[in-house]
């Protein structure tokens, strides 16, 4: 982009500078032409003034006055060598003494003849010639015009001659600056070279003259003497001459190169400034925004505690502030959500724990009544004691976690009650390693499973229930197995469904246990059901091993 714009501006600059070079060479030409025009006009004015002053003066009566007018005009202007009035045959009427021998051929001179041939205009003759005045050797340009004068009351026609010092033309040329090798030419109507400002030896004039010979107006470019030159041609007022200025384009190009350099510098500086401005904007806006974005991504990723930087532009810091307070609000909301969830889980747990089967109490009380009726006092005592203990542990002062030992005691109480009720219908074993007894576990986990085993598994008279505990990969595992017919694959799948909340019928106990375990331990806890047909069914409960806690 930057390079593109650089190139485009360069192209425009070069184009503009080309035009600049062209218009400059044309301006130089115009300036020079104006200098010459000013000069020529002043000469014409002099001639007109002489005529005007001579008005109504008669050569016969006022010769002295006329002489004075001519002389003074020649004297006033330093570049006017002499002023003459000749009659129609070339005889000198007014003006300084002629050089010896020139008096005879005045009428034959080109400037004299052309003045009479075309009366209305001034004639400029720049052929190499020296002044015709006595003791004057300057090279001159002859300016002539046919005029009328009074002589003895009669109007006669004659020729007014003003000799201009050729030097005046060179002086004017010197004022102009056409660059290295630059020069100016003055060509007459036939294209002949009247004047060249190039000093001798004229290395370039010849070629520029040849080129200019075919040019009458306008401009062209050419290589002259190894230099690139611009030729500009213009007319010269009151003459049919042309001024050709040959100016060195390379010098203009040098100026152009300088200008180009400056332009490039300006361009570079502006690019640098733009870059600085962009950098500033980046530092003040983009970078803070970038940091804010990173922070947002981290927060989006879940890191609500990621620090939020508040700096940069006012807008950015406002944004950061808003974001900070928003994150704080989210944190609050999340914390309260977690609290709510915890609370909810506690409530649920409690509710589940409290789902002690009322049938169990009713049945137990029923069997106590039955035992009392049969006067089995000992069994009544045993049952009532076990029931009391059972409830004490169930309540556990409202605690959710109890030592494994208490849980086992709880099952023992339960089994005691049940074994009295189902007289000798089953036997049971409890085997838990001593190191497990001190650990803590969620209470009332095993009782529903044992209850299940009694109701569903014990069919025959000599049924057995075995409760074993073990430590396995940092988890506690309690297996409750019962002898019996076992259960099929389908029944096992149905039980898993029930545990996970599917299905409607039965199994309230085991589902309660499963949900409590999952609610608290999540994936760390599980229940597995294994069955060997016609032999046994084992339900194993896994939960994290929690070290015991004194006090």
């Amino acid at each position: 982009m930057v390079v593109m714009s650089l190139l485009v501006s360069l192209a425009i600059f070069v184009g503009t500078l080309d035009e600049f070079a062209e218009s400059r060479s044309s301006e130089i030409n115009k300036q020079i032409v104006m200098n010459y025009e000013g000069y020529i006009n002043s000469v014409i004015e002099t001639a007109n003034y002489i005529q005007f002053a001579s008005f109504n003066l008669d050569l016969g009566r006022d010769a002295a006055a006329l002489e004075a007018i001519y002389r003074s005009n020649a004297d006033i202007k330093s570049d006017v060598v002499s002023v003459y009035l000749f009659d129609g045959s070339g005889r000198r009427l007014i003006g300084p003494q002629l050089d010896f021998g020139t008096g005879n051929d005045i009428a034959a001179r080109p400037w004299f003849r052309s003045a009479l041939a075309l009366e209305q205009v001034f004639h400029f003759n720049a052929e190499p010639q020296t002044s015709i005045a006595e003791n004057r050797d300057e090279g001159v340009i002859a300016v002539t015009k046919a005029v009328e004068f009074l002589d003895g009351g009669a109007t006669e026609e004659g020729v007014l001659l003003i000799e201009l010092d050729r030097q005046a033309i060179s002086d004017l040329a010197r004022k102009s600056n056409l660059g290295q090798g630059g020069h100016l030419l003055i060509l007459d109507e036939a294209g002949a070279l009247l004047y060249s400002s190039e000093p001798e030896p004229r290395a370039m004039s010849e070629r520029s003259h040849r080129l200019a010979a075919g040019m009458y107006l306008g401009a062209e470019r050419a290589v002259i003497g190894g230099q690139e030159m611009a030729l500009n041609v213009n007319t010269l007022v009151h003459t049919r001459w042309r001024i050709v200025t040959v100016s060195n384009v390379n010098e203009i190009n040098d100026a152009r190169a300088r200008l180009l350099g400056i332009s490039v510098l300006i361009l570079a500086i502006s690019i640098a400034l733009s870059a600085a401005a962009a950098g500033y904007v980046s530092v003040r806006i983009s970078r803070p925004i970038g940091r804010l974005k990173e922070t947002m991504l981290r927060i989006e990723g879940g890191d609500l505690d990621a620090p939020i930087e508040v700096s940069g532009q006012r807008e950015i810091s406002q944004l950061s502030h808003s974001f900070t307070s928003m994150v704080a609000r989210i944190r609050e909301l999340m914390a309260s959500l977690v609290d709510e969830q915890k609370e909810k889980r506690k409530t649920e747990l409690r509710a589940l724990q409290n789902q002690i089967n009322p049938h169990f109490l009713y049945n137990t009380l029923d069997s106590i009544v039955w035992l009392a009726e049969h006067k089995r006092n000992k069994d009544v005592i045993t049952t009532v004691v076990a029931l009391a203990r059972f409830f004490r542990i169930s309540i556990s002062k409202g605690q959710t976690f109890i030592p494994v030992e208490d849980e086992i005691a709880h099952i023992e109480n339960y089994l005691t009650i049940q074994s009295i009720r189902y007289v000798d219908r089953f036997a049971y074993d409890i085997a838990v390693p001593p190191e497990m007894l001190g650990m803590r576990m969620m209470k009332l986990i095993l009782q529903p499973i044992v209850e299940n085993a009694i109701y569903h598994g014990v069919g025959d008279a000599d049924g057995r229930i075995a409760i074993t505990g073990r430590l396995e990969d940092g988890r506690m595992a309690f297996a409750v197995s019962n002898t019996g017919y076992g259960i099929g694959e389908e029944k096992i799948r149905e039980m898993y469904d029930i545990m996970r909340g599917g299905g409607e019928r039965g199994g309230v106990g085991i589902r309660n246990v499963y949900q409590r375990l999952k609610l608290f331990y999540g994936d760390a806890a599980d229940i597995r059901i294994d069955s060997v047909p016609d032999e046994s069914t084992t339900v194993t409960v896994f939960m994290p091993a929690q070290p015991g806690q004194e006090g």
Binding site: E19, E22, G214, G218, V233
Partner: protein, 356 residues
């Protein structure tokens, strides 16, 4: 509206710029064509004026544009009395390839270079108002001049005066107030050295001489074509020559009107015969003749002060120029030429005498 433009730059060096400018001009003219419809205006003609500040030229240019209305599109340039500027304008116009150029040169001698330049481009030229030298006109057969013969105005002015004095040099009528058989005249000259001033003055005097009228020049005064200057200078002249004055011949109308203003203050132009108006039958009336045919001059003639003027018939010139241009662009078959084309180059439009 015709644009008056001063191109910033001229020359073949500026070709690229010129091409760009001409493309823009082309686009603009195409747009104009689309809007206005200009099947007959495809040809563009450059109209170059020496100085638009000259009221005569301004009117003249308008007449040319009006006449060219259906023939071509005239693009007007004002040189502001600078040949340098005109050269630039012509160079710029060359790049736009006009069908023809109508040029009123600032410097008649510059015509030499202009003819050479445009001959190389084969763009025909009609010069007007300032006549190039005959030898320059001979350079090319596609350059023309439309104008009046400057000497004719002086001759015609003399004729106006001579007919007032009775057309008989040996028997002047009552306007020879002194009865001496000689007309005492004050001549107001334009600019010293100016071609027209010199020619008009010379031809005036030569015409009297040729017809055998005796005149006595009380004074020839240069008033630079200006009304104010003539008014000023006439004051001094009247103090010396008031009693003998019989005729005032002025190189143009403006100076004639200035002279009349002064003469009225000095007691001329009174209603001596109580006719209710000033006219040439009043004793204090003196003939004043001008040249140009300004509107004010015509008014003055109708009011009875100015005796007569010689009108430069610019309307006929404009018509002739447009007819000639049409032929130069489209060949001899493109319309009739109602004016005589002398030497296949010159159309001379006669001055028109104007009296009451």
């Amino acid at each position: 509206m015709i644009p008056t433009t001063r191109p910033r730059r001229a020359g073949r060096l500026g070709a690229a710029a010129a091409v760009r400018a001409s493309l823009a001009a082309l686009a603009a003219s195409l747009a104009a064509c689309a809007l206005l419809g200009c099947a007959s205006k495809e040809a563009r003609v450059g109209l170059f004026l020496y100085n638009q500040a000259d009221p005569y030229i301004e009117v003249f240019a308008r007449q040319i544009r009006d006449e060219s209305n259906s023939a071509f599109l005239a693009v007007q340039f004002d040189a502001g009395n600078s040949q340098l500027i005109q050269n630039e304008q012509i160079e710029a116009m060359i790049a736009k390839r006009p069908a023809l150029m109508m040029i009123n040169p600032v410097d008649r001698l510059a015509s030499h270079a202009l003819i050479r330049r445009l001959k190389a481009e084969d763009i025909p030229i009609i010069f007007f108002n300032r006549e190039p030298l005959a030898e320059d006109m001979a350079i090319w057969d596609r350059c023309y001049y439309v104008g009046a013969r400057a000497e004719q105005s002086g001759q015609m002015q003399a004729e106006l005066a001579m007919s007032l004095f009775g057309n008989d040099p040996s028997g002047l009528n009552e306007y020879d107030r002194s009865g001496d058989g000689v007309i005492q005249v004050i001549i107001l000259k334009g600019e010293q050295g100016h071609q027209d001033a010199e020619l008009r003055t010379r031809e005036l005097l030569r015409s009297f001489e040729a017809r055998g009228f005796s005149i006595e020049i009380l004074a020839i005064e240069v008033a630079n074509w200006k009304r104010d200057e003539a008014y000023e200078k006439m004051g001094a002249l009247l103090r010396s020559h008031q009693d003998r004055l019989e005729l005032v011949a002025s190189n143009n109308d403006a100076m004639a009107l200035g002279a009349i203003m002064r003469m009225r203050q000095q007691g001329f132009f009174k209603d001596d015969d109580q006719s209710g108006k000033v006219d040439r039958f009043d004793d204090s009336w003196r003939p004043v003749v001008g040249i140009d045919g300004l509107v004010e001059a015509e008014e003055s003639i109708r009011e009875g002060y100015l005796y007569g003027t010689v009108k430069n018939d610019s309307l006929s010139m404009a018509k002739a120029m447009v007819e000639l241009a049409r032929r130069a662009i489209g060949g001899p078959d493109s319309g009739e030429l109602h004016y005589r084309l002398q030497d296949e180059k010159y159309i001379w439009i006669d001055y028109q005498p104007f009296i009451r």
